[in-house]
Amino acid sequence: MSLKEIRLTVNGSLYDLKVPSTATLADVLREELGMTGTKILCNEGECGACTVLIDGKPVLSCMTFAMDAQERDILTIEGLAERNGGPLHPLQTAFVEKSGMQCGVCTSGMILTAKAFLDENPNPTEDEVREAMSGNLCRCGNYQRITECVLSCAEKKGSGHE
């Protein structure tokens, strides 16, 4: 198995790595960079727990080869809060305050998918939230609370927020 030299930009920092070319981004984030906030559950792209953002869009990192994520901006859950102990992202605060987590294993993926969605659709309906997040599964069945967390971070304009 040949090793490939790759350079990844994760949470604003550059990392030079030597990994097998078949290494997935999820494996590299966790094993090479020690960023275990990204979880691997089904490892088949069905559950969304491994979701990270690449150039602002949600991506299944367990289904993405690390070498294909070069020259892109990768955001993991570790990079979401302000650096150096700064404030949490509003979604993270919402999940903490409104019981958005039970076992927590889906949470990283949920928050990142939600962030990407709200960045594009700041004022969604509940149905739109549920549809957009339907690729992220929660084995604790916490969907109602998770949806409420996401909606609570939507812009509070008049229409569209049902």
Binding site: N43, G45, E46, G135
Partner: protein, 290 residues
């Protein structure tokens, strides 16, 4: 087990690599099927040739031949494309029902076709639309009708060294209306138990033209041509539909699998084809996703 992922950055380079490795390579689109197989150690190839960075085959355009969609176009792009939505919304509907939003961002139309699952979500709609597939290799190009493309479960006419580059959809009749219905076990992401795509052109109450693509009910996605011929030119009524659609399962060849028994699939065919025709002809008001 592939030892390397090769990532050509041009179609020319990709063709050369595919010609060099031939059957020793598997070609990757979005990888949503292939990467799963790699993880299960079920891929017998030396290398994977990923088309992820080949820009020439990621596009949606309209040309004289009709809609042209590059094989590496993401399913989510097809779902959201206003060009496709305004010209053949049946394909938008099919794309919207493939798996879930995260998978759709990665999956490609080329990958869905070349993986050749009998249940491939985009196939029934493309069959109904009479799509043509352009295939490139080191010796040149050829075009294959989609109806001739699938030859068995997971098998297509693609030979080692071939790359599917684009899907060409001749413009449907201006007032043709299409619907894609998918029965599955849950409201969430799942493979089709049965997928039905119907494209209907009505002249008042008469069926001027009708095209029916079926998925997950035969070794490959199929056109239900006998049903089409029984309906063309007839006045569309519920009783005509009932009479004709009950025979559609005769064109299929259902099997039992983890998702469904053959007997239940057989029963679903007539119901879903009838439902799809009624919706496309504007006779019913159901949300096609339910």
């Amino acid at each position: 087990m592939p030892s390397e992922i090769l990532a050509p950055t041009s179609l020319h380079e990709a063709v050369a690599l595919c010609a060099r490795y031939k059957e020793k390579a598997r070609i990757m689109g979005g990888g949503t099927d292939l990467v799963v197989q790699i993880k299960k150690n079920a891929v017998d190839a030396e290398v994977v040739i990923s088309l992820e960075h080949v820009p020439e085959i990621d596009f949606i355009s309209h040309e004289e031949s009709g809609l042209n969609i590059g094989a590496m176009t993401a399913v989510s792009a097809i779902e959201k494309s206003s060009m496709i939505g305004s010209r053949c919304s049946i394909l938008s509907e099919a794309a919207a029902q493939l798996a879930n939003p995260l998978i759709r961002r990665k999956a490609t139309i080329g990958g869905n076709l070349c993986n050749a699952s009998p249940a491939a979500d985009l196939a029934p709609a493309l069959l109904a639309l009479g799509a043509r597939l352009r295939i490139l290799n080191g010796d040149g190009e050829r075009v294959v009708d989609i109806e001739d493309f699938f030859i068995g479960p997971g098998k297509t006419v693609l030979a080692p060294g071939d790359i599917l580059t684009r899907i060409i959809i001749p413009d449907p009749a201006p007032h043709a209306k299409g619907v894609y219905l998918k029965n599955k076990r849950s409201l969430g992401a799942d493979l089709a138990i049965i997928g039905v795509a119907v494209l209907t052109t009505m002249h008042e109450k008469t069926i001027e033209d009708i095209r029916i693509g079926l998925g997950a009910v035969a070794p490959t996605p199929i056109r239900a041509r006998e049903t089409e011929n029984r309906l063309k030119g007839r006045v569309l009524t519920e009783s005509v539909l009932k009479e004709v659609c009950v025979k559609t399962s005769g064109e299929a060849c259902c099997i039992s699998d983890v998702r469904c028994t053959a007997e239940y699939r057989d029963k679903l065919i007539g119901i879903y084809v009838k439902r799809a025709i009624m919706q496309s002809a504007g006779m019913a008001n159901e949300d096609p996703r339910r």
